[in-house]
C-alpha cells in the first residue's frame, strides 16, 4: 500500500469514520481504522459493535494511489497525528503491521493490525429503500432524539420508531412520560417499521449535515444503511415491539390555548429554577381571568415564582390547572421554530398536547405529574 494524499482531505475523512470508533473497544482491532488503498480510491472504515462508518475518497489531484493494499491503525493516534501534520502526506506500508507517514521533514511510523482480521462489512440489498434529504434527516433528529429514553430497562424506548406507510414516514420517540411525533411525506412503496438506536440517528444527522444530494436508506432485517456516493453508515436496529402510540394523540381537547412560544419558554426557564428541588421539576399552569395564564412553581427551600402571561386565544373549558415536569416542557418548546404554539388540554390528569401553530406535522405530548 502506498499513496499520496492531501492533508485536509484525509484529516476530514479520518475524523468522520473515527466517530464510530471507541477507545474502549473490547476487541483491540476495533480501536483502529481500516485503511484500504484500491485502484481508484482510498476506503476508510471505523466501527463498533452497533455501527459502521465507511468513507471513500476517489483519486484526484488530492489523492494518488501508487500501490494498493491495506492496514488497520489506531483511530486516536492517526487522527491526532494527521491534524498536526503540515502538508501532503506520503503513506507507505512498511510491513503488514506498520505504516510510514512522511510530511515535509517529518517521518512517522504508526503500529497497526493486519487488515485481514478486521470484521467484514454487512451485505446490503439495494432494492428495499427510500430517500431522505439531509434537511429532512436533521429535522427528524431534532424532533426525536431528545425524547427517547435514557433508561436501558426498556431497550425499545432508547430508539426512535420509524414507520413507512402510504407515502409517508412517521418517526416517534417517547420515554413514557413525554412523546414527540414527526411526519414527512415521501415517495415509497414500503410498508415497514423499525426501531433505530438514537445514537446512530444522531451520528447520521451530524455526518450528513449540509450534504446536498438525497441520502439512500436501505433496510434488511436487523440492519439499516444510510448511503451517499462516498459515505455509508451501517447500523443494527433495535429488536423488539415498539408500543402503539397512535391512539395516544387525542382527536379533541377540552381547552385550547394559543401562546407565544418564546414567552412561554422564558417563563418555564424561570419557573424551573424553583422547581429544581422537587421530584418532577413541578411547574404549574393555571388559566386565569379567561385570557391569561399563571405559570408558577415553589419550593420550601428555594422560594417561589408566579408569573402572569397573556394568552393570544382561549377556547373551550375555562377551568384549567395542570402540573407538569418543567424540563420536559423546556425540551419541547426549545425545538419549536414557530412563533406561536397551540396547547391542548383534556383536564389535569391527561397529557398536554403541543402543536406548533401552522405545522401539524410535529406533535408532542407531556404527561402531567402530581401537584
Amino acid at each position: 500500500m502506498e499513496f499520496i494524499i492531501n492533508q485536509a482531505e484525509w484529516s476530514k475523512a479520518v475524523s468522520e469514520v473515527s466517530r464510530a470508533v471507541s477507545g474502549k473497544a473490547t476487541n483491540p482491532i476495533l480501536t483502529g481504522i481500516k485503511i484500504e488503498a484500491k485502484q481508484n480510491s482510498l476506503n476508510l472504515v471505523g466501527s463498533n459493535n452497533d455501527m459502521v462508518i465507511e468513507k471513500l475518497i476517489s483519486t484526484s489531484e488530492k489523492l494518488e494511489i501508487i500501490h494498493t493494499g491495506s492496514i488497520v491503525v489506531s483511530a486516536k493516534h492517526l487522527n491526532e497525528l494527521i491534524k498536526k501534520l503540515p502538508n501532503d502526506m506520503h503513506v507507505m506500508l512498511e510491513d503488514n503491521l506498520s505504516v510510514k507517514i512522511k510530511s515535509n521533514e517529518i517521518i512517522t511510523t504508526l503500529s497497526g493490525f493486519d487488515a485481514g482480521e478486521y470484521p467484514v462489512l454487512p451485505e446490503i440489498d439495494h432494492s428495499d429503500g427510500f430517500q431522505l434529504t439531509s434537511e429532512e434527516l436533521k429535522n427528524i433528529v431534532k424532533h426525536t432524539v431528545f425524547a427517547t429514553s435514557k433508561n436501558e430497562t426498556k431497550p425499545v424506548l432508547t430508539g426512535v420508531h420509524f414507520t413507512l406507510q402510504n407515502n409517508s414516514l412517521i418517526c416517534v420517540a417517547t420515554n413514557s412520560q413525554r412523546l414527540s411525533f414527526i411526519k414527512h411525506s415521501l415517495h415509497t412503496d414500503l410498508n415497514e417499521s423499525f426501531i433505530l438506536p438514537s445514537i446512530t440517528l444522531s451520528e447520521v444527522g451530524k455526518l450528513y449535515n449540509g450534504y446536498s444530494s438525497e441520502i439512500d436508506v436501505f433496510i434488511k432485517k436487523s440492519t439499516i444503511v444510510f448511503k451517499s456516493s462516498n459515505l455509508a453508515v451501517y447500523s443494527k436496529l433495535i429488536d423488539g415491539k415498539y408500543p402503539s402510540t397512535s391512539s395516544l394523540i387525542p382527536e379533541e381537547s377540552k381547552t385550547t390555548l394559543i401562546v407565544n412560544t418564546k414567552d412561554l419558554l422564558n417563563a418555564i426557564y424561570r419557573a424551573s429554577i424553583f422547581a429544581s428541588e422537587s421530584r418532577n421539576n413541578n411547574v404549574k399552569i393555571q388559566l386565569y381571568d379567561d385570557s391569561k395564564i399563571i405559570v408558577s412553581s415553589n419550593s420550601s427551600s428555594i422560594g417561589q415564582i408566579e408569573e402572569t402571561m397573556k394568552v393570544k386565544h382561549v377556547s373551550g373549558d375555562k377551568e384549567l390547572s395542570i402540573t407538569f415536569d418543567g424540563n420536559y416542557m423546556k425540551d419541547a418548546l426549545v425545538i419549536i421554530d414557530q412563533e406561536e404554539i397551540m396547547l391542548c388540554f383534556n383536564g389535569s390528569f391527561k397529557p398536554i398536547v403541543l402543536i406548533p401553530r401552522g405545522k401539524t406535522s410535529n406533535i408532542q405530548l407531556i404527561s402531567p405529574v402530581r401537584a
Copy 2:
C-alpha cells in the same frame, strides 16, 4: 431593605461575587451572597474559607435605594433567576429570611439567611501596599498559574511566590520539575515575600480582566487584598517557606540554540502523540549536523516520529541530546508571544532554560527526564 436595580448591572455583579461561592460549602450561609443596601450603594459579598469577593454598586440611574437593610440568599438561585428576568427589578425584604423580587408581571420570593450571621470581612491596613495594572496582573497569571503544583503534599508549591524588592516584583511558580519566573518593575518601598494560592490569582486575573485603572494590593500578615473602587478580593496566603529558586537559574550555558517558537511548539505537539504512553511523556531533542535539531519520540505500542528542524543560531558545545517531558515543553512554549526562543542547555542532566528572545523578564526551566 428595598431597592430598584437594572437587570444587566445586577446580573453582572452577582455573577462576579458568585465566583467565590461554592455550592458545597459546609457552612450553609456560605452558599449564599450577602446583599446589603446602604444609603448610597448596594454591597454584595460572596466567600469561601479562603477567599472573599466584595462588589459595590453606587446609586445612579441604574440603582435606586429606597430602604437600607440586608439579607443573604442562595448564590446559585439568585444568579439563575436574575439572568432570566427581563427588566429592571424591584427588590424588597419580606422579613429577615426572604426577599421579594418583582420584574414586570413576574413575582418571585427567594428564601435566605439572616445577614447578621454572615462572616465579617477581614480588616485591612491601607498603608502597606503596591499597585498593578490589569495587564500586568494578566501577565503574571499567564506566566505562573500553569506551573504550580497540583499536588497538595507540598502546599507551598500549589501557590505562586511573590517577592517585592528593589522596586521590582518577582513571581515564581514551580512543581519541582519545571519552573516559571516573571519579573515586573514597579514603585514600591516594600521588601516582602508571600505565597498566593494559584486559584485566587486566577480568579483575580479574571475579575480584573480589562479593568482600566491601577489595582491596589495590600498585604497584612496572612491576608492579601486586591482592591479597586468597586471591587475587592480578599484571600488567605499560604503559610510556609517557599524553596529558594534564584540559584536554580544558571548564569551560563554550554549550548545555546535560537529557534522559531511556533515551529518548535508544533513539533512538540506531534512528538507528544507518540509520547503519551511513556511515563514522563518523553520527547527527545538532538543537535544534528551543527545547524539542525531532531525532535523525536517513540513508543513500542503506538510507533515513532522523527522530525528535522532548522535552527536559527547555535553557539557553544555542538554535542547535545536531551530528553524531557513533552507536556511541560508544550505548556512553556504556548505562553510565549515572541517569535523566537533561546534554549540554553548544560548537558543532558541539567534543566533546559527557555528565554523568549528579547524578553529576559520571563525565564522558564524544564528538568530533563531519563531517556
